[in-house]
Symmetry: C2
Subunit: 329 residues, 2 copies
């Protein structure tokens, strides 16, 4: 336990408060002179159902405090997981935060942003003292929501949420003393997820008489071709397949690949085959996303990418850079 007086370390205190996860909102209003005002806040909360009321709080030294204090209406926007940049924009002072933003009609007179998970148009009800902040309580006069997964803020960074799952089977009960193989091992879960997904397209692979290795080679070339044999081998090596030249020669002999000056390339037959397999994969993927839900799928992609970065043995980059890399959160 940290006693708060004295000494009191505000950074440490903020870190402890950061264990409480929140969504992220932007609260907007219009100043007396008509200027649109907006600020990022995660101090939002629902308060009352009858009448419907919500609250949020703002630092007393915030430049926007007078505008919110004087205003009769303000709007709360619960940001979706695609709106991290918007959150950052409205968290900073200065500049015209609304520049270039699409705004919906504003019956309340306060700006209404788009692309959010939910929005609440409020009539100011109470303003309360809260130490160095003012607590604003508003009555909700209109609201709407979307299916967009919400953006989160927790332990000082942006995050995604995912529902808690039921266990895959149950607790491990290894029969071999010292064996630690369990369903809670990421290594086991990766393999099972991978093979079950592949299982969903195995029929299509078999129809086309494609082995798993053939599939890796053809899908690699569908992203990036032509490639020389050693380049293909370098991309595939981490799967443990020692490609040699046999597998590739066989694909050439079967008319799926053609040899060019620049390297190997998909033939029309090869393109047709991989497009069919990828269509099957897309269908398995769509079914999986449908079952898991958008929020969970986004979080799973996000976490698999972290795991892949954390275990990257130094693979050659597969995809071309088309946009500057985002900073790591």
């Amino acid at each position: 336990m940290n006693a708060l007086a004295p000494p009191f370390d505000p950074k440490e205190f903020r870190r402890a408060l950061g264990m409480f996860a929140t969504g992220v909102t932007i609260v907007t209003t219009t100043a007396a002179d008509g200027t649109p005002i907006g600020i990022t806040a995660n101090s939002f909360n629902s308060v009352s159902l009858e009448p419907p009321m919500v609250l949020w709080s703002l630092a007393n030294n915030a430049r926007s405090l007078p505008a919110f204090s004087d205003s009769t209406h303000w709007n709360v926007h619960i940001l979706s997981n695609e709106q991290e940049a918007l959150s950052n924009r409205f968290a900073r002072a200065g500049e015209d935060k609304f520049n270039g933003l699409a705004l919906d009609m504003q019956p309340s007179g306060a700006p209404l942003l788009t692309g959010c998970s939910a929005r609440f148009q409020c009539k100011s009800a109470f303003k309360y003292e809260g130490g160095d902040h003012t607590i604003f309580v508003g009555e909700v006069v209109q609201y709407d929501s979307s299916a967009l997964p919400p953006l989160l803020y927790v332990t000082g960074g942006y995050a995604l949420a995912s529902r808690k799952a039921a266990p895959v089977s149950t607790e491990p009960q290894a029969q071999l003393e010292g064996a630690v193989y369990s369903e809670n091992l990421l290594g086991y879960l990766f393999g099972r997820a991978h093979f079950q997904f592949l299982h969903g397209i195995r029929g299509t692979l078999q129809q086309r008489q494609l082995s798993d290795t053939d599939f890796f080679v053809l899908s690699l070339l569908s992203v990036c071709q032509p490639l020389q044999v050693p380049e293909i081998a370098a991309h595939i090596a981490y799967t443990g397949v020692d490609l040699g030249t046999g597998a590739l020669q066989s694909l050439v002999q079967r008319g799926l690949l053609v040899q060019e000056a620049g390297g190997l390339r998909l033939s029309p037959t090869g393109s047709d085959a991989i497009l069919h397999v990828l269509a099957a994969a897309k269908s398995v993927e769509a079914d999986l996303v449908d079952r898991m839900g958008e929020m969970e799928s986004a979080a799973l992609r996000n976490l698999l990418k972290q795991a892949i970065l954390a275990t990257d043995p130094g693979l050659p980059k597969l995809w071309q850079a088309t946009a500057p890399a985002q900073p790591a959160a």
Copy 2:
């Protein structure tokens, strides 16, 4: 936009509010007669830094309202992801909620629970009107926090948080018209995570002259043995490996498996081999969890289990039931 009057659908309104993710807290106090009081709340928020203040709100018709209204002190506990059952216990009325719970020393006189992500001991500062709720603002007099990942509540259910990741490479740029193979496909991410993990133990597998298939068979038997050949084949089939009898016979010939009346079983050599491989896997796993962090690892396990359930082709259960299955969240 849903206008709120009339008609106003409270369920729909609550669903929209549910898009705002929150942590989960239990707030405790002691009634005038000494009875410990506690209630689950997700209406918590930080308010002020100087003085350090937090708030939460409670329904005016809550049975615990008089106790909190009369009390000079209350404690807020930010629950960790292991405390879902505790959250449910304190969300229900009746019964002795504190029965059997470990409590820390209570300098404030209010019960202090253990195993939380963070705890704030507060002196009641303000009570404000908030429609059908009362808003409690307290000054934090002591606090502490742990490294336990917090429990979340979002869109009407418990959830885990995970930090947003940087992209694995960058946006896809397929060269083949219509090809949809991209780094955002779960199918691709599963495979890459699986093979990269396996890459980390490949050295150990090669030392022991074990193929991927040998590894699957030996680890299966480390969990559950003896098994008949068709049972092993049924467990392995989803990986696409057609086991036949060749691979198993080879493992017997090499002295890794022994044939018994009940089926195949690990020999002492086989046990030794798989224990070494599993130790290597455990080390890769520990390194991965260390790099990703506990919060992300827990969320990733959770989501992989959802994906595995969603794509399960009807595999035989690998692990014995030792505890009743938890209800799906």
